[in-house]
């Protein structure tokens, strides 16, 4: 059965994790210390794994014969439905870690709720992702405290990252007709419901990290409708070039 709302919703879930997973994988071989290099590679692998399952299910529900690879490698930026937050370049280590905190807390709350999806496949994927996201949250939270409550330099960088990223967090919780449709049917969850628990969790960590919570009047948006920053196209060009140069290649 083809169901446009479920398909769109799943591409939002899948694209968030695919794009951020790819971004975090850029640290592989460049981490500040060996353990952290390995940790980030693991986190990236988890997110790309989750994206694979979500996009596979999206393709099945769409019913047009597109599998997870077709969706990842053969869609243009305008067809991607990830939030703007996850496509921004990796920046310095503080920027990457603060973003991991902001996204992982959101992801954990979202996946916890999706364990009760009326779609058994999605509920199963969510149950698995919850276990992974819990480790991601703990990892990021410990680092944010270490950096924020660390040296003058690490504090300044962490605060700068919080200030730059904050205006991209509002989009995570915006609900449109697609979200309302999947929340109504029990397939998905209304993201606006996650805003308050997210704020409580994130603010607790930022307080412990001695970092100030920004007050911004304007929140960026657009990714859920395919309006992206200029960064996504460059990232996709790199991510997709092998699959597009050698269609159907396997190894």
């Amino acid at each position: 059965m083809s169901d446009p709302a479920s398909f769109s919703y799943l591409t939002r879930l899948g694209d968030d994790r695919l794009v951020l997973g790819h971004r975090v994988s850029e640290w592989c071989g460049h981490g500040p210390i060996l353990e952290e290099d390995i940790a980030l590679a693991n986190v990236a692998l988890d997110m790309i794994g989750e994206a694979t399952l979500l996009l596979k299910l999206a393709g099945q529900l769409e019913g047009k014969g597109r599998n997870e690879d077709a969706l990842a490698y053969f869609r243009e930026a305008i067809d991607y439905r990830n939030a703007l937050l996850v496509e921004l370049p990796i920046g310095d280590f503080a920027f990457t870690i603060v973003r991991q905190l902001l996204f992982s807390v959101f992801s954990l709350l979202q996946m916890e709720a999706l364990q009760r999806s009326t779609n058994a496949d999605l509920a199963g994927i969510a149950a698995k992702a919850v276990k992974e996201a819990r480790y991601h949250v703990r990892h990021a939270a410990q680092w944010v405290v270490t950096l924020g409550d660390g040296t003058d330099e690490s504090h300044a960088r962490a605060q700068r990252a919080v200030d730059e990223l904050w205006r991209y967090t509002g989009e995570l919780f915006l609900a449109d007709a697609i979200d309302h449709a999947v929340a109504e049917s029990g397939f998905g969850v209304d993201p606006s419901r996650l805003a308050e628990p997210w704020r409580v969790q994130v603010e607790e960590v930022l307080h412990r990290a001695t970092l100030a919570i920004p007050t911004v009047a304007y929140m960026q948006r657009g990714g859920r409708d395919g309006r992206h920053t200029e960064h996504l196209g460059h990232m996709l060009a790199e991510m997709q070039i092998v699959a597009r140069s050698y269609p159907g290649a396997t190894w």
Partner: protein, 167 residues
């Protein structure tokens, strides 16, 4: 043509017990709980597996090895189903398998932590060094050489080691 009796679930699991996890070669995919079910019929064998982690890169290799092991038994076509529910947990690893892990130099997983969402809570349980059995150990990183392991250091015998993470 002489018809052979179809193998039972137990017999199939015994065959699959020869398939080791490529990243933890001391344990089989049955002992790890990756193989959830195996059913033989006249049409062939259907094996149901579940991944340990969403992105576990060993799953493809494991599928290939399962096919190879069953092909050797000539039971007909092999179909492999992947299930995600219930989600894999280290609680499925048997006590005997946990002993094998420790003997191999990997600290076995403890019990799965509660699902409380308190990001800064430190884990209370200690992990025993698989080499000298000391409890005086510390975690160096939650993430190790594979998704399923974390990196630890033993303050007693000064040996780094890995722990199979409870999940």
């Amino acid at each position: 043509m002489v018809r052979r009796a179809l193998p039972s679930r137990e017999e199939l699991l015994e065959i699959l017990d020869a398939v080791k996890d490529p990243e933890v070669p001391v344990l089989s995919v049955v002992e790890l709980g990756i193989v959830r079910d195996a059913v033989a019929s006249d049409a062939g064998v259907v094996v149901t597996i579940t991944p340990t982690y969403s992105g576990c890169p060993a799953m493809q290799e494991i599928e290939t090895e399962i096919r190879r092991a069953l092909a050797a038994e000539a039971l007909g076509p092999v179909e492999i189903h992947t299930t995600y529910s219930p989600a894999w947990t280290t609680d499925w690893i048997t006590a005997a398998a946990k002993e094998k892990l420790e003997a191999y130099g990997i600290a076995p997983p403890g019990l799965v932590e509660s699902s409380e969402l308190i990001p800064l809570r430190r884990r209370a349980a200690t992990v025993r060094c698989p080499y000298c059995k000391s409890q005086d150990t510390e975690q160096k990183s939650v993430f190790g050489s594979t998704a399923c392991k974390s990196i630890w250091f033993c303050n007693q015998c000064r040996q780094p080691f890995e722990e199979f993470k409870a999940i």
